[in-house]
């Protein structure tokens, strides 16, 4: 139709304009910037940045910190000494005790304190009751292991003048060179510098000082001051006001700062939580860079913005740097407000140095408002080693109950017990699986936690047993703010027992949150934790049942009328620590208290707790999942969820996800559908919606959207054995559950910044969720030369680089990397619990070598019996050379192994699918099966093999039909 073409062309040129218009008018809610501080509005941030600017501007900057060589000693893996800070204006010096601990894992820890404050030799302003020491209990809440010193760490014989050198780590391959004056550290591996401390001289420990009243006009200040040194800017030292709140700062300025340089590393990742790329951006301005440092100060940020270094709900001050075949990292153990500046420098290449590539170095600058300077150094060399070393310290990700990795249906709010049962019935009616139904705050009686609204939830037991019938769970929200109202026993008790957070004067703190006037339980107090545990007993939290689990929200803590929507920094916690000192771990202590409470609901009933948290910090991974908070029903937020989840995963907290559908606003049906397809690849898969939005459960949208969403959900459910195996791996090795390209292909330099596609555990499954409107295809990046197959039709993709994969609405771009064996359960059920005894399908994906390997971990998905051997853990291996597929036991046997295996003895391997089957199987009709322990002659059986040759760029595949094998047993399948 030639006549049409001009029109078509005209229309086509018009399209971009329409698209542009669309972007102009799509309403995107934006954060209220005025509610949150910029660096300039945060006194210590401004001071540390100014300090850095002064240092960088000076040609001969001299860091005023020197290690006194006379004080150095090394014993039992621990080096001690005193760093002396010289105050140039007065010539006074401040003594800062230094400890460098070399741990067995090869991790090094550098801790700097302030002697005067250790001794309590200071005076606080305003008659404050706050503690005088620098906060030294972050370790208590954060670190759970791996602190054993490496007694083999030794001073090097190769002593340089003015420096101390220590060999440590595996086979002594790591070195720490400590330069005395100015004090700096150089961490080396294999003779090369990887991480440098204070090489730029930005170290800054703001020592305690008294406030000098301004001298009368005309008089000179302190007589001994050096007139050559200009007086310091004291404007941000004392009381600081923001947004109508004044921080009394009884200890004055007390920040700690340090520059940390990753020598030769172009990419740094981590320090969640930010709505930003996984590979962190520079923060000192310039094209495409941020102007503000990355901030970590757990906050309830309403309508957060994307591509921003602004703080969010959680903070993990763990950063790793990666370059080809090398990964290193640092963990900044500090619970106070923290900012990180990042700049990257590429030194000019010496044209004469042939073969030496110009390498980029990433320079970071960290500063916290208070507390110790306490940094762990990980020298890798692989991403796996770094995250493992970090996890050894802060704990491994919880192995959750198996329902927790199914699908969660949430909404603010399911309005009544009838409503809850109705939603469950509708899912069943539409044959869509789900595991958990969630209740947001409206279930409570007038926002009093531990109560159900008697009007709308008159019969919570009926509701929970209705869910239980199909092995489903209920999650109810419990927040840390306790309504301040008469005749509410919980608040009466909280007040009477003095278990709440206090204000700066030591009286109970009162703020505003969902219930109106509220108090906050102080979970830094052991007595508060014991009390909190008691509240969850079934006879206390009336209406809760064994299948009721908990969601902790607002635990940053969110205080509606507080500065930056949180508590005043001069509030006092247990032990009179200032809120300033502990802010970022406040959420963890509350989350952890709830976890402990769920362990003790009933004597003898020990189940793995499930507690979701919004606020988090290093260590929260031990307790339960997090989600990325209040996102928006907008394509940009869908896109942002992928790097955010990946970044959390490599930062030791892999049980993460975003609200499917977007919390605020109404998603279009297409967006919602794409979000389910993406959500099927979040480790934590929950849909949630704001109270002002329309209902959007997957059955609401109608055809074809409902079917497509159901397919995504069923895909998730069929892959649950693979997911659970990945969760298990995370729980013992700290590995991410969904993995970015650099983690899987650490040598592939082109893929280091890729953060919009993910690998599921060690399965070789590679997904790239569609995050744009109207997409018909996506470009997936392949980080190696292995063969990849489309999951749904076995189309073949190979060769490094980007491949275009079709992605119409009904299709999730999902590939299988050759060389893996993927366990599945293909029978759709109503919930994951009802799949427990279903047979397994093994998908053997042959790679270029013709070999494949995979594993499967199963346990009861509920108790801790797996720790006593009640689990199945098998490796499946196919070797092209022998044509044998084998199942090998790699479990840890224990007292409960036998009874568990008995309970699972009927679980079959239903079928074996071989993708990329060799063409010489074409005429093969059967394979030979033999079971472990059987005599070759007596046990060999034949099982039918069906071969399908590949057509049109698709791989050949073969199916072994019902081989009669059991998952608890060892066996061999002979394809030769």
């Amino acid at each position: 139709m030639n006549s049409l073409s001009p029109f078509t062309r005209g229309w086509a040129s018009f399209v971009p304009f329409i698209v542009l218009l669309f972007y102009c008018f799509t309403p995107v809610l934006t954060v209220k910037h005025e509610n949150f501080k910029t660096c300039d509005q945060s006194g210590f941030c401004k001071r540390n940045r100014a300090y850095a600017d002064t240092a960088e501007a000076s040609s001969n900057w001299d860091s005023p910190y020197n290690l006194d060589p006379a004080t150095i000693s090394l014993s039992n893996g621990q080096l001690t000494g005193t760093v002396v800070k010289t105050i140039s204006r007065t010539g006074d010096s401040v003594r800062l005790p230094l400890t460098v601990t070399f741990l067995e894992s090869g991790t090094a820890r550098v801790t700097i304190d302030e002697e005067k404050r250790q001794k309590g030799d200071i005076v606080l302003r305003h008659g404050s009751k706050a503690r005088k020491e620098r906060y030294n209990e972050a370790e208590r809440w954060t670190i759970t292991g791996g602190l054993t010193p490496n007694k083999g760490a030794a001073l090097s014989s190769d002593i340089q003048h003015g420096a101390t050198k220590v060999h440590f780590g595996p086979e002594g391959k790591f070195e720490a060179i400590i330069t005395h004056a100015p004090f700096s550290l150089d961490f080396r591996r294999d003779g090369t510098s990887h991480i440098l401390f204070n090489s730029r001289g930005l170290m800054n420990v703001e020592h305690w000082r008294t406030k000098q009243e301004a001298p009368p006009e005309g008089e000179s200040s302190a007589a001994e001051a050096d007139p050559a040194v200009p007086p310091e800017d004291e404007s941000t030292w004392w009381d600081e006001s923001f947004g109508g709140n004044t921080d009394s700062k009884p200890r004055g300025p007390e920040s700690v700062g340090l520059d940390i340089t990753f020598s030769g590393y172009e990419h740094v990742y981590g320090i969640p939580e930010h709505a930003s790329s996984m590979s962190l951006k520079q923060t000192r301005g310039g094209d495409g860079n941020y102007k503000e440092p990355y901030r970590m100060y757990n906050s309830d940020v309403f309508e957060y913005e994307l591509d921003s270094p602004m703080t969010l709900y959680g903070a993990i001050p763990f950063m790793q740097a990666h370059r080809k075949d090398s990964t290193v990292g640092v963990f900044w153990l500090n619970a106070a407000e923290t900012w990180v500046d990042i700049v990257k420098s590429r030194p000019a290449v010496n044209p004469l140095a042939l073969g030496v590539k110009s390498t980029t170095t990433t320079q970071t600058h960290w500063f916290s408002e208070s507390g110790l300077l306490d940094v762990f150094v990980f020298l890798g060399p692989s991403p796996q080693k770094v995250v493992q070393a970090y996890s050894e310290l802060t704990g491994y990700s919880q192995l959750p109950q198996s329902f927790a990795i199914g699908y969660h249906q949430c909404r603010w709010n399911y309005v009544s017990d009838e409503d809850v049962m109705d939603v469950a019935r509708k899912f069943d009616k539409h044959n869509i699986p789900f595991d958990v139904l969630w209740l947001d705050i409206e279930y409570t009686h007038e926002k009093k936690y531990f109560t159900f609204d008697p009007m709308t939830f008159p019969n919570p037991q009926k509701m929970t047993s209705h869910l239980d019938k199909h092995d489903r769970k209920l999650v109810a929200i419990i927040d840390p703010h306790i309504k301040n109202v008469d005749s509410y026993p919980v608040v009466d008790d909280l007040k009477k027992k003095q278990l709440a957070v206090n204000n700066k004067d030591g009286n109970i703190y009162e703020g505003w949150c969902w219930p109106g006037s509220s108090h906050w339980v102080d979970c830094f107090n052991p007595a508060a934790i014991s009390w909190w545990k008691g509240l969850f007993k079934y006879d206390k939290f009336v209406g809760s049942s064994p299948n009721t689990f908990i969601w902790n929200d607002m635990n940053e803590p969110s205080v509606f009328n507080g500065p930056e929507t949180t508590m005043p920094k001069d509030n006092l916690h247990h032990g009179n620590w200032e809120h300033r000192d502990v802010h970022n771990i406040n959420g963890l202590t509350f989350h952890n208290a709830t976890y402990e409470a769920l362990l003790e609901r009933k004597k003898g009933e020990v189940r793995r707790p499930f507690v979701l948290t919004r606020a988090f910090s290093a260590g929260s991974q031990r307790v339960g999942p997090m989600w990325t908070g209040d996102n928006q029903a907008h394509w940009g937020h869908l896109a942002a969820s992928i790097p955010m989840t990946l970044n959390n995963g490599i930062s030791g907290y892999p049980f993460a996800g975003a609200d499917v559908g977007g919390f605020f606003g109404n998603p279009s049906k297409e967006l919602l559908t794409r979000w389910y397809q993406a959500g099927a690849f979040y480790p934590f898969f929950r849909a949630h919606a704001h109270i002002d939005t329309r209902r959007r459960e997957p059955y609401v949208a109608g055809s074809p959207y409902t079917e497509i969403m159901a397919q995504a959900l069923r895909l998730r459910y069929s892959l649950l054995p693979a997911w659970y195996t990945a969760f298990r791996e995370a729980s013992v090795a700290g590995t991410p559950i969904v993995r970015p390209n650099f983690f899987v292909h650490p040598s592939d330099e082109n893929g280091f910044a890729i953060d919009d596609q993910l690998y599921l555990g060690s399965t070789g499954l590679l997904a790239k969720p569609v995050v744009t409107e109207g997409a018909e295809s996506v470009d997936i990046y392949l980080g190696d030369d292995e063969t990849y197959y489309d999951y749904f039709d076995y189309a073949i993709y190979s060769g490094k680089g980007y491949k275009t994969v079709p992605a119409p609405l009904e299709k999730i771009p999902l590939l299988m990397q050759g060389g893996h064996i993927i366990p599945r359960r293909d029978r759709p059920r109503r919930s994951s619990g009802l799949m427990k005894f279903d047979p397994i399908t093994l998908v053997v994906v042959l790679g270029k070598s013709g070999d494949a390997e995979g594993s499967l971990y199963l346990d009861d998905g509920e108790t801790f019996d797996y720790q006593q051997g009640a689990h199945i853990h098998r490796t499946f291996r196919y070797e092209a050379s022998t044509g044998l597929l084998t199942s090998e036991d790699i479990s840890d046997r224990g007292s409960k192994t036998a009874s568990y295996l008995k309970s699972m003895s009927h679980v079959r391997v239903e079928r074996i699918v071989v993708v990329g089957a060799p063409s010489d199987w074409k005429n093969k009709e059967s394979v030979i099966i033999s079971e472990e322990g059987e005599k070759e002659s007596g046990s060999r059986q034949r099982s039918e093999l069906q071969f399908h040759s590949g057509q049109g760029g698709k791989a050949a595949w073969a199916v072994v039909k019902d081989p009669g094998l059991y998952i608890t047993k060892g066996w061999k399948v002979d394809f030769s």
């Binding site: 019935r425 009007m455 039709d793 759709p828 239903e910 322990g933 005599k935």
Partner: protein, 560 residues
């Protein structure tokens, strides 16, 4: 370890061989009688929708899916994935994506047979709702044993069923009464329509006559040479003017008063709204705009609210507004006193014999009219008030006209009403104007048939309009029917749409979808707020029953 293989074989044979056929020996496990014909052969099996695929009989119910339509596994969950809801895979022969069988057949002796979805077969849950004999869990996975409960479930069901049937019978009867009532109302209206039409004809004639009369009177008045301002007493003129003016003022005072009252009501409403806005707004949203509004409201409140009405002044006002006669003012006296001194002179005609007098009078008037009409004489009434006679005539005309209008309006409204959709058999005509209500949570919800839905807080406070009736509609529902029958069940149901209720903060105008099902009496069963300010009522009423004699008169039990 020969043993384990043996064990396996034994286990396999028990499951797949021994009891592949259920106790009902004619049919394989899970096959319903209507599909028995496909399972007659004993050596091979042909997939139902794909008969070219022929399988050895051992493939039947061997817990492995062979047929693309799942028909080889009527008794297991092996083919449960065959569905457009499952992710596609080359392995599942996705020829049809559709199961040939409705599910796993449960004979349910002692109750009604049922089909359990294949996804629920051998999943460790006894699905007694559909399979009271527990045969869906024949594998006993995880140690589950589902005992046969058909006897008790069947008994219970029959009890309910009888009650349901009785209730439906009663409902049917009640419906017939409603239809009758609706018919009566319709008849009444049609009769009224008839008489109205006659009345209108009469009124039209009356109006027509009166119009003529007015013209006549006016014409006559024009001829009254001495009447009018030139001849009329000044007092009378003044009276006329004053009356006109005062009438105007009163009319305007009344209008202003109404406007004021309206504004006061709106102000009170607004203040109430802002008071609750201030109390209920969420400071967490940190919305500067909202905060500013709250602050401004606080300032406004600080200045004090609008003064209350001064009762004394208000009474005065009311007094003023009363008809003039009650204030001792009788305009007639002034106006009718149109006997002026000049007029008296012309009274000579009274002394003439009557026929002559009339003739003369007529002639004089005609002349005068002629002069006026030809512009020779000025029109005495052009800038003066009408004479009493004209006014009277006009008033009669106006009265007649408005009577006619009323009649016409009534006619139209009746006609519209008769044309309006009142559901099958005009049934809702019988319910119109009646209201039913139910308590749910903190509220009482009221449904007024074809009028409005209302939410009334039990703790006091203003009622909230949840929508005004818009139209009768139908919706598809698919819900479990509770044993007492008080539920919507499945299929097409009559629905009443109520829209444009009170505006919702941060949301739409409230609306209610009222879904009806047949029941003995009018009753609100369930009220849900599905999303913000969008309500759904499930209501039982005889009006929703199928008319007697139609097949769907009694709702069948779902699973049949």
């Amino acid at each position: 370890m020969r043993e384990s293989i043996l064990t396996r074989l034994v286990y396999t044979s028990i499951i797949y061989g021994g009891i592949a056929f259920s106790a009902d020996a004619q049919r394989p496990r899970g096959v319903g009688p209507e599909f028995a014909k496909f399972y007659k052969t004993t050596d091979t099996f042909a997939c139902i929708s794909n008969p070219s695929i022929i399988l050895p009989i051992a493939s039947l119910n061997d817990d492995y899916c062979d047929c693309p339509d799942g028909s080889d596994e009527p008794g297991t969950s092996a083919c449960a994935h065959i569905s457009p809801l499952s992710p596609p895979s080359p392995v599942d022969n996705t020829l049809n994506n559709k199961l040939a069988l409705p599910g796993f057949y449960c004979k349910n002796k002692g109750h009604n047979p049922g089909y359990v979805p294949f996804t629920a077969v051998n999943d460790g849950v006894c699905d007694y709702d559909l399979c009271c004999n527990g045969s869906d869990e024949w594998q006993g996975v995880g140690g589950i044993k589902c005992e046969d409960k058909c006897k008790e479930i069947g008994k219970e069901w029959r009890k309910h069923d009888e009650e349901r049937k009785r209730a439906l019978g009663a409902a049917s009867k009640r419906r017939a009464e409603l239809v009758k009532e609706a018919g009566r109302l319709r008849k009444e209206m049609e009769d009224r329509l008839q008489s109205l039409q006659t009345e209108i004809q009469g009124s039209e004639i009356k109006v027509h006559n009166l119009e003529k009369e007015v013209a006549e009177v006016e014409r006559a008045e024009k001829g009254k040479l001495v009447k009018g301002p030139a001849g009329g007493g000044k007092l009378s003129v003044l009276g006329g003017l004053a009356k006109q003016r005062i009438e105007e003022l009163l009319k305007n005072v009344d209008r202003v008063k109404n406007e004021r009252d309206d504004a006061r009501r709106r102000l009170a409403g607004l203040e109430e709204l802002l008071t609750s806005f201030k109390e209920e707004y969420n400071p967490n949203f940190n919305d500067e705009g909202v905060k500013r509004a709250v602050r401004a409201w606080e300032d406004y409140i600080a200045q004090g609210k609008a003064p209350d009405l001064n009762n004394a002044l208000e009474q005065d006002l009311e007094q003023i507004m009363k008809p003039d006669a009650e204030n001792g003012l009788n305009w007639e006296e002034f106006q009718d006193a149109d006997e002026s001194d000049v007029e008296v002179l012309y009274n000579f005609e009274q002394y003439l014999p009557k026929p002559l007098r009339e003739w003369l009078n007529q002639k004089l008037r005609d002349l005068r009219v002629f002069l006026i009409e030809n512009g020779i004489l000025a029109n005495p009434h052009s800038d003066a008030s009408e004479s009493a006679a004209v006014t009277k005539a006009k008033q009669s005309l106006e009265a007649a006209k408005s009577a006619l209008r009323r009649e016409q309006d009534e006619l139209k409204s009746h006609q519209d009403d008769l044309a309006k959709e009142y559901g099958l058999d005009d049934i809702f005509r019988a319910l119109k104007g009646q209201c039913i209500s139910t308590d749910s949570g903190e509220y009482t919800y009221e449904l007024c048939w074809l009028d409005r839905t209302t939410q009334k807080p039990k703790k006091g406070g203003a009622n909230v309009g949840m929508g005004n009736f818009v139209r009768v509609d139908t919706v598809m529902v698919d819900e479990e029917l509770p044993p007492n029958g008080k539920g919507l069940g499945s299929g097409e149901r009559i629905a009443l749409r109520y829209e444009n209720g009170q505006f919702c903060w941060n949301g739409p105008n409230r609306s209610t979808l009222v879904v009806l099902a047949c029941a003995e009496k009018d009753e609100v069963w369930k009220i849900t707020e599905e999303e913000k300010c969008v309500y759904r009522m499930e209501v039982g009423t005889p009006a929703a029953c199928q008319p007697q004699g139609t097949a769907k008169g009694v709702r069948e039990k779902d699973e049949l």
